[in-house]
């Protein structure tokens, strides 16, 4: 058996893969947070809850309507995205001019509400969601076994991250959005419907969260608490990477997932807290975050 740093290679690779998969979820979630923060200037505390709702929508589509994984992967983000746009239009917009901390408080309340509702109906045990047939099995890479579904999650999240980055950085719509981040009043003066843009951005951000939720459904159980467990870690990642850049959010998501995986190999007890430790170190060394501009 091959060894690397005293660790069998399959074990090391297996943990790195898990780290990379977690990193994929972190990246997609912090990407959505960064998008929303850019235009709305709020930290969407409900992001984790909406990720959970995304997974539940997929589960319910299958359970009630018999709609399978592939349509759910598209439908669930759309449904949650529309729900998010309603939240933005009827709640967040009303407090848009106030201290941004109110946005945090409001979305925290929404997160509690959503989590409580699903817990009331489905309990804390969670529901299972089967891996779609076309993605069962896996590949033997010689040094490790790669389950097909995990490969798909990794590929899908990289594509989605890249597509979002392209949308923001390379298209005309993205340019308008970035302009609105810089100076919303000026962009409005050019005849752009900025409030609509804000609503769409929020919808896109939470749609990404729902997409991550559907991807996660077959890996983890569909559980009312799945959102709150992950969102705090994502917040730490966002502090590390800075909310200022799309690229920063994606890169730090994947990197910290890997970092967590490596920690699980060498010192498993610390794997729960390693990201928070990294956050503390970054705050000491570079308070503005790795990709952030100094305030």
């Amino acid at each position: 058996m091959m060894d690397l740093l005293g660790i069998p290679v399959p074990v090391l690779m297996g943990q790195l893969l898990i780290g990379l998969i977690n990193g994929a979820f972190y990246a997609v979630l912090s990407l959505g947070l960064a998008l929303i923060f850019g235009l709305l200037n709020i930290v969407n505390f409900a992001h984790g809850a909406l990720y959970m709702v995304g997974a539940f929508v997929a589960f319910l589509l299958l359970d009630i309507l018999g709609i399978g994984y592939w349509p759910a992967l598209v439908l669930s983000p759309i449904i949650v995205g529309i729900f998010g746009m309603l939240i933005e239009r009827f709640m967040l917009r009303r407090i848009a001019d106030l201290d941004h901390l109110y946005g945090l408080l409001l979305t925290f309340g929404l997160a509690l509400l959503l989590e409580g509702l699903f817990r009331q109906v489905y309990g804390v045990a969670g529901e299972t969601y089967a891996i779609p047939e076309s993605l069962q099995g896996g590949y033997n890479l010689g040094f490790m076994f790669l389950p097909a579904y995990r490969a798909w999650v990794l590929a899908a999240s990289i594509v989605v991250c890249a597509a979002t980055w392209y949308l923001i950085e390379m298209t005309r719509l993205g340019a308008t959005m970035r302009a609105a981040v810089e100076n919303a009043d000026l962009v409005r003066a050019f005849g752009v419907n900025v409030p609509l843009l804000v609503t769409l951005t929020y919808g896109l951000g939470v749609g990404l969260a729902a997409f991550a939720g559907v991807l996660a459904a077959p890996i983890y159980s569909v559980n009312p608490l799945m959102g709150s467990n992950i969102i705090i870690v994502v917040f730490a990642i966002v502090v590390i990477g800075g909310l200022g850049s799309i690229k920063g959010a994606i890169i730090s998501g994947f990197l910290l997932g890997l970092c967590e995986g490596l920690t699980r190999v060498f010192y498993a007890e610390a794997s729960n807290i390693i990201i928070f430790v990294v956050m503390a170190i970054v705050l000491i060394v570079r308070p503005a975050g790795l990709f952030g501009k100094a305030a």
Partner: protein
């Protein structure tokens, strides 16, 4: 937060016996002394613990403008320390509580030093993340009892001589702790220190340009708030004789935010009222699954959308206007 009001201060300046803080404090104290003879003392003691916790939290949010989403770390961890000191080290009650407060203050110093490096929403996220780290430590450390927590913590005599074996004894201990804690907060808010904190809240750059070291003031407020939250957590161990993971979880941090916001941030009475409402509500809804979480979420949303100043913050100014109007009529 920018649109929080300061009820106590304007009340004092407008004069009249209705605004006499000392009179109302005396009435409140007498009520709290008699109340346990009519209601279950453990229940009121629980409310007092959370009221102190919320008031300590409000010292930070209401008067320094810092939203911490990690106060459960101080509340819950000091509970573990006090529980360990009483159960395993067999210290007397006051030493156990002091140990809890000291550790909470130290924890506040470390978390505060890191968190004040960023502002606004980042501050909230950092405190939340670091408190989650404390949660994992509490889950895995050898002295916390993991998932079970510390159970059957003995109520050791105060100073080694004053017996605390009945619920009534403990109630009066908690009442004394509550009064000391609230008095410290009141003094801090109405001191030059409190004035500087408010000026930092209103305009940090200006406070710095006037020569105040804003970071030091913020850190001091953070440590004070953490220590008092720890005091509340230690008091809770005396009441319930247990320390558990629920007290260090992020939900607890959210609960204390809700208590302060519902009652009215930046007021002295608000957090106490907020804690009373939320704890009573939880008691009523405890049997019905996660209904209490749903209601809390809904109250949060309604508060932020409709009455951001909280109950005391909204009613206080109205009462004063009504009273001032009445005086003019004479």
């Amino acid at each position: 937060m920018s649109d929080s009001t300061n009820t106590t201060e304007s009340a004092r300046s407008s004069g009249g016996w209705l605004s006499d803080v000392r009179l109302w404090a005396a009435i409140g104290l007498v009520a709290l002394l008699i109340l346990p003879h009519f209601l279950y003392p453990v229940m009121i003691a629980k409310i007092l613990c959370f009221a102190l916790f919320a008031a300590a939290f409000n010292l930070l949010l209401g008067f320094a403008g810092l939203l911490s989403f990690g106060h459960a770390a101080f509340f819950g961890f000091s509970a573990y320390v006090t529980g360990y000191a009483l159960q395993t080290l067999r210290l007397s009650a006051e030493l156990g509580i002091l140990a809890g407060v000291a550790v909470a203050a130290l924890l506040g110093l470390v978390i505060g030093l890191l968190a004040i490096r960023r502002q606004g929403i980042y501050f909230a996220m950092i405190t939340l993340a670091l408190s989650q780290m404390v949660y994992f430590v509490a889950l895995q450390a050898p002295f916390t009892g993991g998932e079970d927590g510390l159970q059957g913590v003995p109520r050791r005599p105060l100073f080694g001589i004053i017996d605390l074996s009945t619920n009534m004894d403990v109630y009066y201990l908690v009442l004394a702790i509550f009064c000391i804690g609230i008095f410290i907060i009141y003094r801090a808010v109405h001191s030059p220190f409190g004035k500087v904190l408010k000026s930092i809240r209103e305009n940090e750059d200006r406070a710095i340009s006037l020569g105040y070291d804003a970071d030091r003031y913020k850190l001091l407020a953070f440590v004070l708030s953490a220590a008092l939250s720890g005091l509340a957590g230690s008091a809770k161990v005396m009441v319930f004789q247990l320390a558990s993971l629920t007290d260090v979880q992020w939900q607890m941090s959210g609960e204390v935010v809700l208590m302060a916001v519902l009652g009215g941030i930046g007021t002295m009475l608000g957090p106490i009222l907020g804690a009373t409402i939320i704890v009573s509500l939880q008691n009523e809804l405890a049997q019905v699954g996660s209904l209490s979480t749903i209601v809390q979420g809904a109250v949060f949303v309604i508060c932020v959308l409709l009455f951001r100043r909280g109950i005391v913050g909204e009613i206080g100014p109205r009462l004063r206007r009504w009273r001032d109007g009445g005086e003019k009529d004479k």
